[in-house]
Structure formats: C-alpha cells, structure tokens
C-alpha cells in the first residue's frame, strides 16, 4: 500500500461575520465542516460543488494559507499546523498552487523569469545561475522558451499565462499541485491544451493534483477520485467513474444534470 501524500482529517473552518448587534455574539459562517479524505501519491482528487460550497476554502486550508478551525491537514505525514514558520516555508516546496485567473495571478510588472523563480528565492536558493537554470527548465516543461523569461505577462495569451503559472508551481518540484479552477477562464481549444499539459507533466514527474472545478467533465478526465461538497460538507465521495457516472446523492445528480451537454451525453435523470 502507498502511504498517503495528503491526509485531511475532520477539517473544519468557521469565519466570524461582522457583528449585527452590540449585545450579541457575532454570527459565524461554517465554510467547511468535518471534511476527511486521503490522497495517495500519484493519484488525483477532484473537488466539485457549487460556488459557496467550500471548495476554495478547502484549497486554502490544504495550502496552509489559513489555519483550520478544526481537524488537521497532513502532508507526507507532517501536520502542517504543528510546523513553525521556517519549517512550513521549507515544506511548501512540496505543495504548490495554480489559480483560476491567469490574468490576476501574475504580477504585471515583473518579468516571467522573476515570477517563475520567486518560489526558489523564498526557499533560499541563493545562486542566480541555479534559479535561472531551473526557471528555464520549468518553462521548457510547459512548452515555453527561455527567451520568454525577460518578457512581462501582457505579452502572453491567457493559455500561455496559465502555462507560466504552472511553471511557477513546478519549479520547486512539488509532489502535490492544488489547482483551483485552472482551466475555467480559458477558451475551449486552449483548455484542451492545458489539460493535456497537466497530464503530460504528471506522466513525467508523477506528482498528484488536487483539482477544484465546477466542470464535472474536466474532473472526470483528470481525477481518479472525487469528493462532492455541498454547504461545506462532503455529501458524496468515491471513484470518479462511480460518482460521476452512477451518482448516489441527489445533489451530485443535480450538478450532473446542470453540466452543459449532459443531455447529449446520455445523462437525463
């Protein structure tokens, strides 16, 4: 049996809302409640659900960008909450993130070289030559040229920008990439290119993806396992082909029915 790369146990997150009255406790919003799953190395997990279902909150907790209100996130057996700041910084090399909007996630004033190699700087790689070499390697892996290092984001199309964002995630040679709606801002033909690229990279380096998407067809293509979130809770979990082709929960069926082209694919329950 392979050890779990990522283990999430009874994870919960509550946000305090603004006080409505001076004399009452401020109301709280439960964004995530009692979420547990385990992602073995080399497999991909899809997280689906509508907006507000807690998908992105889950991503932020897994990335240790926010502390959970309950439960824990273990990456390669280490509870991220127990790590000190310095240790967490080093551990971050193992898990990286790709965001939805390739226009908003790249700093428009920085060169591609600076953007892509920044994670190395944070990890304390002092040698400029090494940073440059690894940035070239990461860009080559996503199909861009080393001459692109000196350019700035506006010189690239949306699909190319998302490749740059993926290169930035790859540069630390992570074992896990958390991808929050990585293709939903892209045109259909470009989407296909980026999805193929993500699979090529996995074939080559064997990392895992935690893929957050509202597009069930994308999840079905990329992921081995799926969890379905509704109001912050897991309502269905299992193998992708089981959950997406023979859904057990009414909410999953509703999501499937709402997927464009569902009728033509023969889903009409």
């Amino acid at each position: 049996m392979t050890a779990a790369l990522l283990q999430v146990h009874a994870l919960g997150k509550r946000y305090r809302l603004p006080r409505r009255s001076l004399f009452r406790a401020p109301p709280a919003l439960t964004a995530l409640a009692d979420v547990s799953f385990s992602l073995p190395s080399g497999r991909n997990l899809g997280v689906v659900g509508e907006s507000g279902s807690g998908k992105s909150t889950l991503a932020r907790l897994v990335m240790a960008l926010e502390p959970p209100s309950a439960g824990r996130v273990c990456f390669q057996g280490q509870d991220l909450q127990t790590l000190g700041a310095a240790a967490l910084k080093q551990a971050r090399a193992g898990f990286q993130m790709v965001f939805q909007d390739p226009y908003g996630s790249l700093d428009p004033r920085r060169s591609i070289g600076q953007t892509v190699s920044e994670p190395l700087l944070l990890l304390g790689v002092r040698s400029r030559a090494e940073r440059r070499e690894r940035a070239e390697e990461a860009l080559a892996a996503v199909g861009l040229r080393s001459t692109d290092l000196g350019k700035v984001p506006h010189e690239f199309s949306g699909g190319q920008r998302q490749r740059i964002a993926i290169a930035r995630a790859l540069i630390t040679r992570p074992r896990l990439i958390v991808a929050d709606e990585p293709v939903s801002a892209l045109d259909v033909s470009v989407q296909a290119q980026v999805l193929n690229l993500m699979q090529d990279l996995q074939d080559r380096w064997g990392m895992s993806y935690l893929l957050i998407s509202h597009d069930l067809a994308v999840v079905d293509l990329v992921c081995d396992d799926v969890i379905v979130l509704q109001h912050g809770r897991v309502v269905e979990a299992g193998r992708a082909e089981q959950v997406l082709r023979r859904p057990a929960h009414a909410y999953t069926r509703r999501l499937l029915a709402a997927a464009p082209g569902a009728e033509s694919a023969g889903f009409s329950n």
Partner: protein, 325 residues
Amino acid sequence: MLPVSLLQVDQLQVTLSTPRGTAVALRGVSFDLARGQTLGLIGESGCGKSLTALALMGLLPDRAQVAGSIRFDGTELTALDEPAWCRLRGARIGMVFQEPMTALNPLHPIGRQIGESLRLHKGLSDAAASVEALRLLDRVQLPQARQRLAAYPHQLSGGQRQRVVIAIALACGPDLLIADEPTTALDASVQREVLDLLATLVADTGMAMLLISHDLALVADRVQQLMVMYAGQVVESAASAQVFSQPAHPYTRGLFAARPRIGLARGTRLATIHGRVPELDAMPPGCAFAPRCMLAEQACRAAPPPVLHWQPAHHARCIKPGVTA
C-alpha cells in the same frame, strides 16, 4: 409567409486603431434575425463576437471605423448619432452583459436601477416605475421581489444579480435582446436556470435574441440558429441542430472535439487545435484558419475561401465543408 426580418447585418466591417496601427477586427459579418427568432453566436476570445454585439448597440470605441450596414426594423444604424442611439438602447434593444456585478451600479438600490429606463424612455413617474420594477422582478423569478426592491447589488448572489440585469433589459419591452456571455460568471446550475429564464422570456414576449457565448454546448439547445465566428468572420452558420449533427467547418469540429465530456477514460488525450488565433495585424492571405487546419491545402492558403452553401441553409466559409479526414 417568410418571417419579417428585424435585424439585417450586411458585410459589417469594423476597423480599430491600435498602438501598432489599424486592425480590421470584423471582416464582413452578415446575418439576418427575424422577430421571435433566437440566434447563437459562438467563438473564442478575440474572434469578434463581443465587437459584433457592441456594433449592434452603438457602443464601439470612439475611434472605431464602421463599414457595411446594420438595419434594425428598417432604420440604418451605422449612421445614427448618439442621441438617436440613446433613444434606441434600453428601449428597443435590451442588453445583458457578462459580469452582473459591474453591469449594476453598486450605489443604487436595484428597484431604482430597473426603473431608470422606464422613467427615461417611457416617462413614468417614480411611483409607477417602482410598481413596474416589482412586476419585472417577479417576471425574472427573483424570490421575495417586494423586499428586494430596496436591496443593493452586493446583497444579492451572482445569479440573482443577473436576473436583475435581465429585468433591466426587459423593462421597456425591447424587440431585440442582446445577451453577451450572460452566464459565464455564474455556477453551472445557475447558468442553466438563467438560460432557461431567457428562453421562456423570449418565447413569451416574441422578442428576438442574440445569445453570445464561447461555449458551444451551453447555447446549442437554446437557440434556433447558430453562427460560429473565427478571426472576425462567420465561418459557419446553420440551424443549431444541424451544426451539431453535421458540423461543416474544421474549426467547429475542432471546438467539439476539444471539449472534455463526462465518460472519457481517465487520462484520455483531448484533441487540440494546435497553434493560436492569428493576430489582427498579421492575418494570413488565405483562409484565417488554414495555419491551424489539418485539412489545409495550397488553395486554402492562396486565397480567402468563399462562403459555400454546403446544404440548404447551411453555410460554411471553407472549400472542403464536412470533410473529416
């Protein structure tokens, strides 16, 4: 009797000025839209679909040059001055935009925003406009409409905001509704509700609708006619079911093939359209799609292909329509 044409666009050409000189962004777009008819306009970013919508609403950038003709109910629109456009927009042509947050004014309650065009175009009093706004909110199925008249946009969800935008577009009972990516910013299940609502409203009111989207599958079963645009031109047009069952243009087929579908085995390679859309100032001399087309031959690269009447009422800008390999 043939349906009376409401909108006739003939050889519409739009030239934009860019820092690198002028660029022809729409290169001879022609189509007809009859009253009560629904037309889908499909294409990827930069193909000119939104520019087409802006031209139809007189909202092109100041320095854009327009050639060709847009006739709306007998009036030539390309020659209109701004005051005449203002009498048309929001009154006889309604618009729904992509992003319901930016389309609404965050500082005004929604009831007031819905009433604005009624006060402006129909001269309604504040009280009458408010009554009418409530009726419109009911019509777009916004729950608790009466309490929501005084709500501000930030108090509504994305789907609810888009319903408000649709209510504004419907306020004056337009003959034509232009919806530019109306559901792109919304959740999948909300997308479906909003598109169903639009379809119902079109059927009830008999207005014509131009529905613009980058997503073929999303609009296909909600419009009668479909046009596919590429690099500023319409490359295929036919009844929507026809485009689905027998796509004629290699680009249309590429779009179908590139979309993942539920049921594909894990790790299946998606068919891609290799390369990218040509820059406006560097259009190839022949077919604009030829550099990316697997079927392109010498003739495709030599001269722009004519519009072929492949089948009755099924046109394609391709010399080999329907050829698959």
